[in-house]
């Protein structure tokens, strides 16, 4: 047995539940009499909804296939070797479940080395090798092809990426080394760093060809046939494959620097993966592949044993799996059909909701407001947005006509909502106003209609308390911008019944939102955590720490934006309002900052002034600086960070004790999808656990070992 085979056998024992990919070898006669050819098909035996992955046994299978074709190639029995995938899927890389199970650095190293050892054999055969990217190719799937002599790609290929950095890894089976040596460092940085950090952006087949990763592009209908005809022509010398010359000069350094700037912009140095990948890309300039592969192995093993990757996989599983099966949601069979939606209010938020409901549910949506001018303005806004979609080609004329036809306005609630199944209110955030609106709506809607509120901080239970049927009321809390942020906090009030709640979850699914069930507690999840977090920043500023120190203190977390920039986005007035609500509920933990109140009173939109020359580094607005009344307690960045993280950990601990959500996982899912908190933090609780904050504050970790960390 070869050492590679032994290595993989050992790894396979650690991962007994691997979904094993077979590597079938089939011999064909190439067209044009080009000779006998061995075609390897990667296939896990399941349909396209279960994409082919590489675990240790799968790699061992490929290794065995290569043993066979290597002999045939050496004996002159075949003229070439090809590799392709099952229908619609090439291969989507390493099996993450296997990665999660790894406990020891040496095992992680073995997985990296095992992949390299198998894949690189494809470049050392006595005959040329060809990869045919027929369908989705990611990570190790992309990489196995990079080891081949030539590549073709299908125009129908929907997704091609090296997503490792997105998760917290490096492309570790050749991607960091081979890609820059194939298409140059700049394009490699785009694929490995830029796309990956841009929410794991996928390339389409034509782009894979344009980038020079594939030598030929063929349409999906007869992709494999045309690839094999092309192969025959290459092998016979009738087609010459010409690739662009790679610039190994200054362009290489510039590319790496560009990659670093992208990484800084996204993770602010807080997650190591992108930087490790860039180091390897930088070194790959000398063309020494083996040296690069060794560096990949080392980086892979280090990252696999690190908290950022474990958090990344945890976060990935939250958004991929938990988001699809909301914890605590009632049986979906209880959900009632929603064939018409009512929206109370025709302001900006209400109009955005109307647009979203119309686009996703494709049922009539009626807006109401207190006067005709407001109603008209709301409808006009929605129609205008539909026109923009039409202009951008996102919908065609027929669809635009249909959507516009769905959205109307009415002054008379009885006429508007008489046959509505779901009515959402987005009126002024004041209990009395909302109670009055709900009472009016209840009087006119059918008995089964669900009444939903988009309140961000008021008690849904109290809002429902004056109704005849309070069991029909749910909280339906969207995040701004509504069209972009996936999170929807669905609030179960004291009397909400299962059918209404099930209907709310069903609507959320149709809206393509990530629904999380939350208890009717002040500010629910995201606003409560964010307000506590920002409140603590505000506290230290109020006590005397300079604004820049307070801001810099949380930079190592790699949040999408600094606290005060976030405040600007939310709007200081809204921030103040939420802090007042939470202060009312929990006065000991949530203060109302007099400085923030002063800023709001002065009508300032934020703390900073933004200059066109340097948009990334805004300066403190001197007018705001003049308003600030600070104490004389000056903390260091580290002290600030500790205070802020302690506060967040305390709040999350209390929220879990109160049962605001089912588990810490839901808090992380909310923060990822509602606040854009990063994967490398796993939302936040994995980070608080691994930094020791949760134990310091609450006496225990939020998550069991192995959930978002190296298993014990």
């Amino acid at each position: 047995m070869s050492t590679t085979a032994e290595l993989l056998k050992g790894a396979a024992e650690l991962f007994p539940d691997e979904v094993v990919t077979a590597a079938h070898v089939r011999h064909i006669d190439l067209p044009q009499g080009a000779g006998k050819f061995a075609l390897i098909t990667l296939d896990n035996g399941l349909d396209h909804t279960k994409p082919t992955t590489f675990g240790p046994q799968s790699l061992a299978n490929l290794n065995t296939a290569v043993d066979q074709v290597e002999k045939e190639a050496a004996a002159g029995d075949i003229v070439g070797v090809g590799i392709t995938g099952k229908p619609f899927i090439f291969a989507v890389g390493a099996d993450l479940k296997g990665v999660e199970l790894l406990k020891r650095h040496e095992d992680a190293l073995a997985i990296g080395k095992g992949g390299h050892d198998v894949f690189k054999r494809l470049s050392g055969l006595a005959v040329p090798t060809f990869a045919y990217y027929n369908g989705a190719a990611m990570g190790g799937g992309v990489e196995v092809g990079l080891h081949c002599t030539y590549r073709t790609v299908s125009k129908a290929l929907p997704a091609f990426s090296l997503p490792e950095v997105f998760l917290g890894l490096v492309p570790g089976w050749g991607g960091c080394v081979l890609l820059p040596n194939l298409i140059g460092a700049d394009r490699a940085v785009s694929v490995v760093i830029e796309n990956s950090l841009n929410q794991n952006k996928q390339l389409k087949g034509a782009q894979v060809h344009e980038l020079g990763i594939a030598d030929a592009l063929f349409e999906g209908a007869d992709f494999l046939e045309q690839s094999l005809i092309w192969t025959a022509s290459v092998l016979k010398g009738d087609t010459e494959v010409v690739r662009a010359e790679i610039d190994r000069g200054a362009a290489w350094d510039e590319a790496v620097a560009r990659g670093k700037a992208i990484a800084d912009g996204k993770v602010h140095g807080a997650a190591p993966a992108a930087y490790r990948a860039l180091e390897i890309i930088a070194a790959a300039r000398n063309g020494d592949l083996q040296q690069g592969f060794d560096a990949e192995d080392q980086a892979l093993a280090d990252l696999i044993m690190g908290g950022e990757l474990r958090s990344g996989i945890y976060a990935f599983n939250l958004v991929q799996k938990r988001a699809k099966r909301p914890a605590g949601a009632p049986d979906k069979k209880l959900a009632r059909p929603v064939t018409k939606v009512g929206v109370v209010g025709a302001g900006l938020m209400a109009s955005q909701l109307a647009l979203l409901f119309a686009r996703r549910l494709e049922v009539p949506v009626v807006l109401t407001d207190i006067d005709q001018a407001r109603v008209d303005k709301g409808v006009e806004y929605v129609h205008g947005e539909i026109d923009k979609l039409l202009l951008k080609g996102r919908v065609n004329q027929d669809k635009a006509n249909r959507l516009k036809g769905l959205v109307s306005g009415h002054l008379d609630k009885a006429a508007a909502f008489g046959d509505a199944d779901f009515v959402i209110e987005a009126v002024f955030e004041e209990m009395g106003v909302k109670q009055k609106v709900f009472a009016e709506v209840e009087a006119v809607v059918p008995e089964h209609a669900v009444l939903a509120t988009n309140t961000s901080s008021l008690s849904v239970t109290e809002m429902a308390s004056k109704l005849k049927n309070p069991e029909r009321v749910v909280g339906f809390h969207f995040f701004n911008p509504v069209a972009i942020l996936p999170l929807l906090e669905i609030v179960r009030a004291e009397k909400t019944d299962d059918a209404s709640l099930a209907t709310a979850f069903s609507v959320a699914k149709s809206l393509k939102k990530t629904a999380v069930l939350v208890k009717d507690a002040p500010a629910f999840v995201v606003n409560r955590v964010l307000t506590r977090f920002m409140g603590e920043i505000q506290n230290v500023i109020d006590e005397g720490t300079p604004v820049t120190v307070a801001e810099k203190a949380v930079e190592p977390l790699g949040l999408p934006m600094s606290p005060l920039v976030l405040l600007e986005l939310v709007g200081p007035a809204i921030g103040l309002h939420v802090s007042e609500t939470l202060n009312g509920a929990f006065p000991d933990r949530f203060k109302v900052s007099p400085n923030l109140a002063a800023v709001v009173k002065a009508g300032k939109r934020g703390f900073y002034v933004h200059s066109a020359e340097n948009p990334a580094e805004p300066e403190l607005d001197p007018e705001v600086a003049a308003l600030l009344e600070q104490g004389d307690t000056v903390l260091t960045e580290e002290q600030v960070r500790d205070r802020v993280l302690d506060a967040v950990a305390q709040e999350i601990g209390l929220m879990l004790d109160e049962g605001v959500v089912a588990e810490a996982q839901d808090i992380d899912l909310c923060l990822i999808t509602g606040a854009g908190w990063p994967f490398h933090l796993g939302g936040i609780t994995p980070y608080l656990d691994r930094e020791g904050v949760s134990e310091r504050v609450t006496g225990k970790k939020f998550l069991a070992p192995g959930v978002a960390s190296v298993p014990a």
Binding site: L30, P31, D222, E225
Partner: protein, 405 residues
């Protein structure tokens, strides 16, 4: 408004390699629609001067229009092949003569002026759609003795033909079959077949059928080169004890697809498309269903009469070899020798296979190539028998004809 009939030409034709139907056949896991789609795409690739948007119609035949052969295949295959949505299509059925009827129907439309250029072809995946799948014959056929009970079983109709023409012995049928295999092998060796084949990717997940994974079909699977009379003598006669029809002197059960481009001659010339054959005339005729193999005789008589030609004018014959006896019956009718060199020069369905509704265009593609090779020949025919007692014959003129030198 007076009309002038236009000359209709066969521009080009291609086919998939034919496969053996059944779990071990190369196409067992391949969809029928994909097969014909790939033929259409190959036609477009081979004729880059043809703007796909100018195709006026897609007529595709299948006998069993169910599942991947249903859903108005002419339309759906056009979309799957990437033709513009403006190109319409329809499905057509005349059992074995499906593709032939697709060509003649289109030809009628071209001649009339309704079409300038169109796609005509057919597909039959007899593995996915065995003969008789889903049929529901009217009980009156039997109760009123409208047809003999054997009429629905093609092998039995071939035995009936042997009965009618007892001098067409099993020996002669077997000898004919051996020659068909020999001629087919020779045509392959000369590269006369492969040039019009479209390679088809074929997936196999059943290890009992052979190597698994993706493969490529590049040659006809049913071929049995080296077949001898001795091999054939011992074969079973499945349709009748001590009968004459065997798997060796008949075409098998097969999977395959074909497609052709049919155009008005002036349009083809204007677009610079090849003109491989010129349509002279065609005819279909009915016979007693229980001896359907005799169908080509009246069909050929009718077509020749309409064209004002006699059998002596025909220099090349492409006769579908559903059964050897059926070929022999036509030759016998005209006093042509069993081994006449003008007949099925590349061999026939006994060697290549006969995926019912696709075969008509295979005959045409082969005749077209023979025309090109033999400019001294002016006329040729493609002819075939059809289930339920029919025959079809198309007479073609060789545009490469150099005159009676």
């Amino acid at each position: 408004m007076p009309r002038t009939a236009r000359d209709v030409v066969f521009v080009d034709g291609v086919r998939t390699p034919f496969g053996k139907a059944g779990p071990k056949g190369i196409y067992h896991e391949t969809r029928a629609d994909d097969m014909v789609v790939k033929c259409i795409r190959e036609l477009l690739r081979r004729n880059p001067d043809l703007d796909p948007a100018t195709i006026d119609e897609v007529a595709l035949a299948a006998t069993t229009q169910i599942g991947d052969q249903g859903l108005t295949l002419g339309r759906t295959a056009g979309i799957l092949a990437g033709l513009p949505q403006s190109v319409p299509g329809f499905s057509i059925d005349r059992m074995c003569a499906g593709a032939m009827t697709a060509v003649t129907s289109i030809a009628g439309g071209v001649s009339f002026g309704a079409y300038d250029i169109a796609v005509a072809g057919g597909v039959e995946h007899m593995g996915r759609h065995p003969m008789g799948e889903g049929v529901d014959p009217n009980p009156r056929f039997v109760s009123e003795k409208l047809v003999d009970q054997s009429a629905l079983f093609m092998g039995m109709t071939a035995e009936n033909l042997h009965d009618r023409l007892p001098h067409l012995t099993k020996q002669r049928a077997d000898e004919y079959a051996v020659r068909s295999q020999e001629k087919a092998a020779k045509a392959y060796a000369n590269g006369q077949i492969q040039a019009d084949l479209v390679p088809i990717s074929v997936r196999r997940t059943n290890a009992e059928a052979g190597e698994t994974g993706w493969g490529l079909a590049t040659a006809d699977e049913p071929m049995r080169p080296g077949t001898t009379l001795e091999n054939l003598a011992g074969l079973k006669t499945p349709f009748r004890p001590h009968g004459r029809v065997t798997a060796g002197n008949a075409a098998g059960l097969n999977d395959g697809a074909t497609a052709s481009l049919i155009a008005a001659e002036d349009v083809a010339r204007e677009l610079g498309l090849p003109v491989k054959m010129r349509l002279v005339d065609f005819a279909f005729a009915g016979v007693e269903p229980e001896v359907m193999g005799i169908g080509p005789v009246p069909a050929t008589e009718k077509a020749l009469a309409k064209a004002g030609l006699t059998i002596d004018d025909i220099g090349l014959f492409e006769i579908n070899e559903a059964f050897a006896v059926q070929v022999l019956s036509l030759l016998d009718h005209y006093g042509i020798a069993d081994d006449d060199p003008r007949v099925n020069q590349y061999g026939g369905a006994i060697a290549f296979g006969h995926p019912l509704a696709s075969s008509g265009v295979r005959l045409m593609t082969q005749l077209a190539r023979q025309f090109e090779e033999q400019p001294h020949v002016r006329y040729g025919i493609t002819t075939m028998c059809v289930g339920f007692g029919m025959g079809g014959t198309v007479i073609w003129e060789n545009p490469h004809f150099e005159g009676n030198k």
